[in-house]
Amino acid sequence: MAQDLKSPTSARPDIHETKPRPLRHPSWWIGGAALSLFVVLFIRLLVTNENLHWDIVAQYLFSPEILAGLGRTLLLTFVAMIIGLAIGVVLAIMRLSKNPVFQTASWAWIWFFRGVPPLVQLIFWYNLALLIPTVSIGVPFGPELWSASMNSLITPFSAAVLGLALTESAYAAEMIRAGIQAINVGQTEAAATLGMTRSQTLRRIVLPQALKIVIPPIGNDTISMLKFTSLVSVLALPDLLYSAQMIYSRTYQTIPLLIVATIWYLVLSTILTLIEHYIEHRLNDGRPLELSLILSSLFRIKFGAPRTEVSK
């Protein structure tokens, strides 16, 4: 380069014409080659290993039993997320209220449901009838309006929804609280000077802004929830995983059916990620997103910009 500068301008290549070429370190080549080799070996294993039985994978991938399980997994994910988020919003507002009773109750709830593993909760809720045999709604110390035995209320599905939604509510509450706290006090003050009440300010000004901050973590939680739902197989609830397990307990095709489940979990989490990025993008600048952008954002890994030099 230094020579270039000394030589007459006519001898120097026109730097405005040339495109900077990325500078690659030897490790870029060596590391890349080694990794590529591993990838090839891995793919070869996937293709040639007899025990994988791709024919059986293909046979069961769209079987009615698996698809029904898939539907239950999706339903469980969304019902648990929606209930969890709804409780989370209430908990977050309680946590930020000036009333110490609300604050403490919310704190205790979050402390409990964040601390107890979801698997323990699932089993606990499923066996709730052992603790409380009947539930009734009525005037306290007065007439009973409605009652039912706990055994008829707690099905594997309702136990699963309870366990998953309550765990989610604790995490959602903390996320939403942080989102609300991130909103500048100037926003609430501006709303107050316009004569808005506290609930109008919360609904119209604070929550919409907080929600936007909270969208990415909610997306992450939804994907985690999708995977957490596989815990419900302990309740013999035929979700995606348990459906696969039921099939391989009959056919002994354990690995191929686990692969079927894996494929579906990957497909669903990919779709959820795409939806999340789409929403996030829409919130950021309001305009619709091109597919290519969503796809590239799926693998949003950013390396530092490569160093460049002017090539001759």
Partner: protein
């Protein structure tokens, strides 16, 4: 309302933060249609006074009367009790406020910022609120920016939208807390021009400002504050050209 009774009346207003007394028995009054400018060194309590006027800051003692009604409080026999937040919200509709940092709602366009409170708080018809909102945008010279988001607007434009947003509630008085202090020098003029126009239209205004030329030209009444008290007050020409107190003289000398 009789012309002799002031629109705003402040009686022995005091406020401390911890042990620091920020306002010390302030008395002042603002007549209908008057522009009052408050000047003074940093930390003298100007913002705190303004925020006590609409109860954003709760005074330790003293009362602000708006058109005869105590702000943030209501009579209980012969004593005053704090009112509920919803009652206070209703009262605040009569006092607009413009902040140094604009505080526009970032998730709403300029027009949406303006029509939000009329629709949500005053339950006005949407078409009506939008028509009035557009008229207000016209007034502040931003009709063609109606559908821009705050981040797509310059500071001066944002502050003009903020003024229009307050005006949309048809307040009896407008409070301004250093409305041009966050702006680049070349954007100050457009905001002051809107405020001058507002004063000419007869709006009652209380303006905390460092813009001495605005205070001299527009104010009917100038208040100089220092250390939580009103040191000197009167017509701006008198206070600015013939200050009586050494503290006023020192403050003005530093500005020139």
């Amino acid at each position: 309302m009789s012309t002799t009774m002031p629109l705003l009346n402040v009686e022995r207003l005091s406020k401390s933060f911890g042990t620091h007394q920020v306002l010390n028995k302030i008395d002042m009054s603002v007549k209908l249609g008057d522009v009052t400018c408050i000047v003074g060194p940093s930390g003298s309590g100007k913002s705190t006074l303004l925020r006590c006027l609409n109860y954003l800051e709760v005074p330790d003692s003293g009362v602000v009367f708006l058109d005869g009604d105590p702000v943030g409080m209501r009579w209980h026999g012969n004593t005053l009790r704090q009112m509920s937040f919803n009652e206070l919200a209703a009262q605040r509709q009569r006092m607009g406020m413009v902040f140094q940092s604009f505080n526009l709602f970032p998730h709403k366009t300029a027009l949406e910022n303006i029509v939000e409170a009329p629709i949500i708080v005053q339950r006005r018809k949407k078409s009506e609120a939008v028509a009035e909102g557009m008229a207000l945008l016209d007034k502040v010279g931003l009709r063609e920016r109606a559908h821009y988001y705050p981040r797509q607007l310059s500071g001066g434009q944002q502050q003009r939208v903020a003024i229009a947003r307050s005006l949309a509630m048809k307040p009896a008085v407008m409070l301004f807390d250093e409305p041009t202090s966050a702006l680049d020098p070349e954007l100050v003029g457009e905001v002051l021009a809107v405020m001058r126009q507002l004063a000419e239209d007869g709006m009652t205004m209380v303006v905390v400002t460092h813009e001495m030329s605005f205070a001299r030209d527009v104010a009917d009444h100038l208040i100089f504050m220092d250390g939580g008290v009103i040191v000197e007050a009167g017509p701006p020409k008198d206070v600015l050209s013939n200050p009586q107190h050494t503290r006023t003289k020192a403050f003005l000398a530093r500005l020139l």
